[in-house]
Symmetry: C2
Subunit: 309 residues, 2 copies
């Protein structure tokens, strides 16, 4: 399966290119990127010229920033190619609804990825929680934006989501492991006075089952990140830590041999992509993005000190 990558930036180099290289069914056949390229791979400066030059490439993986993804996704779907979208799948919900319709009409696969759902212990956490009575769940997603998003101006521009860019990873796990649908009841978003997206957010969710569910996102944590979900249940306390990589119940680690064998989040995504395309199916779950849109809609806004890189 030949694949082209659009947007050769940090996430492409760190994750997509190694994951494609590591999958025996996939070949990186070309890239499209305004200024960057991958050594030894055919390079185009835009997707339109790539699509015209290479009708043999059936799959397009988009890892440009979300504000710029829709136009390329549309172009690829209209050209009858399968499309994989980095998270979040777009800058707006309505444009993703458009893409879903277009993929259906074109009879191709659309895959909106949530890489954190492929972290090693996420499935184990979902399975463990399925028959427990949940009392409370607290998400803590704290990291240093200067370390994890060095110089990424787009993340601070309107539509770039700010701290929800990592926070949506937590929400993608939460919506994958929680046995019921949750909905946002309360949110506070803290914006640096010189930026258009928040640097911190605090969310509370209502659970029809009665548990207290909350999330705390903060980009001002220096040193090691904290990407943890702590769940108090009738059968003990579970901690899903390191962004979903490890699960402990009452301090004892639950092994996840099957997940570990897949080799990580992005290898998991590309395995899923290969599977979806082979079966002619799509996979677009918007629930993490809906919670983010709800937080922006419902949230109270606070202003804090200016942010400089």
């Amino acid at each position: 399966m030949k694949i082209a990558l659009v947007g050769v930036g940090k996430i492409a180099r760190d994750q997509h290119i190694p994951a494609i290289a590591g999958h025996e069914g996939l070949t990186l056949a070309a890239t499209a990127s305004r200024n960057a390229s991958v050594e030894g791979v055919e390079a185009h400066t835009d997707l339109a010229s790539l699509l015209e030059a290479r009708p043999d490439i059936g799959v397009i993986s988009l890892c440009t920033p979300p504000q710029y993804r829709y136009a390329d996704a549309r172009l690829a779907l209209e050209a009858g190619r399968h499309v994989m979208l980095e998270k979040p799948p777009g800058a707006t919900l309505s444009e993703v609804h458009d893409l879903i319709d277009l993929a259906r009409k074109s009879g191709v696969t659309l895959f909106a990825t949530w890489h954190s759902r492929h972290a090693a212990a996420v499935s184990a956490a979902r399975d463990w929680l399925a028959d427990k009575t949940i009392r409370s769940l607290e998400v803590t997603w704290h990291e240093d934006v200067r370390y994890w998003h060095p110089g990424q101006e787009w993340i601070w521009e309107a539509g770039g989501l700010g701290v929800f860019d990592p926070g949506i990873n937590a929400l993608s796990i939460l919506t994958a492991i929680y046995p019921r649908a949750l909905h946002l009841s309360n949110a506070t978003l803290t914006f640096p006075e010189n930026r258009d997206t928040p640097i911190a957010a605090r969310l509370s969710f209502a659970d029809p089952g009665g548990a207290e569910v909350s999330a705390d996102f903060d980009w001002r944590k220096e040193g090691d990140p904290a990407w943890d979900i702590r769940i108090s249940t009738d059968a003990g306390e579970a901690v899903l830590s390191e962004g979903g990589a490890k699960l402990h119940v009452d301090g004892n680690r639950l092994e996840t041999p099957e997940a570990d064998a897949l080799g990580g989040e992005y290898p998991g995504l590309y395995a899923r992509l290969h599977d979806l395309v082979s079966r002619g199916e799509s996979d677009v779950d918007l629930s993490p993005m809906v919670h983010v849109a709800d937080a922006f809609t419902l949230g109270r806004r606070l202003t804090t000190d200016p942010f400089q890189f």
Copy 2:
């Protein structure tokens, strides 16, 4: 068909009660409202006691503010009653998704209303546009918040939507008459420095068909409101004015005798409710609310002078 009204406020008195009274198939059998009641109608102070006391009332119409609607909607659906929701159908998209699931499981009707879609000339505008090439469309929705929302504090609280409360009426018309799905490409939201919701907003939409589509919402217009949609096409200029009540093409009024016979927006809504319940169907179109959530997510925020009633 016996119906109970929850939330006896301005919109209930101005619109819902007369519309129910005017429909020969509907009877207002009870109300639930913390402080208010309707003369001659059984009054409860909360929905739970109403549901318990009156199992014979099959339909619950909710016109409380959106922040407080979910809990009551859930209560009514769980009690197996049909539910009609004022616009917007909730404070968050995820809670409305919950209600859709719950209504399906309970086998009852859920009707998310958009009263402006029942304005006299909306269907005529949709039909007229269907075969035209649209060059541009501009929504102008300007009104005086002090006149139209006197003392309504909830509208300024987070989740109350601010100027999107009337603006979503315009979006409900736009999404009803436009021949294609649009998606938001750009937004600017202006917040009074002492309030949690915007007093003005400017939106731009991308149209796969290439037209320029924009909307301007402003609550600072004194005197007569301007609730207009101006559409430039290959076959002339259409103006849908007075909130959807009148349609002119190149200055000539198009008559709408069928719509006029229905007697207005809320009579149209209650006729539709009666029809949905009779047929055992639901009608929940979230597209106007998705555009609002997208505007809050994508929009740049500006701050303006404080607002006082």
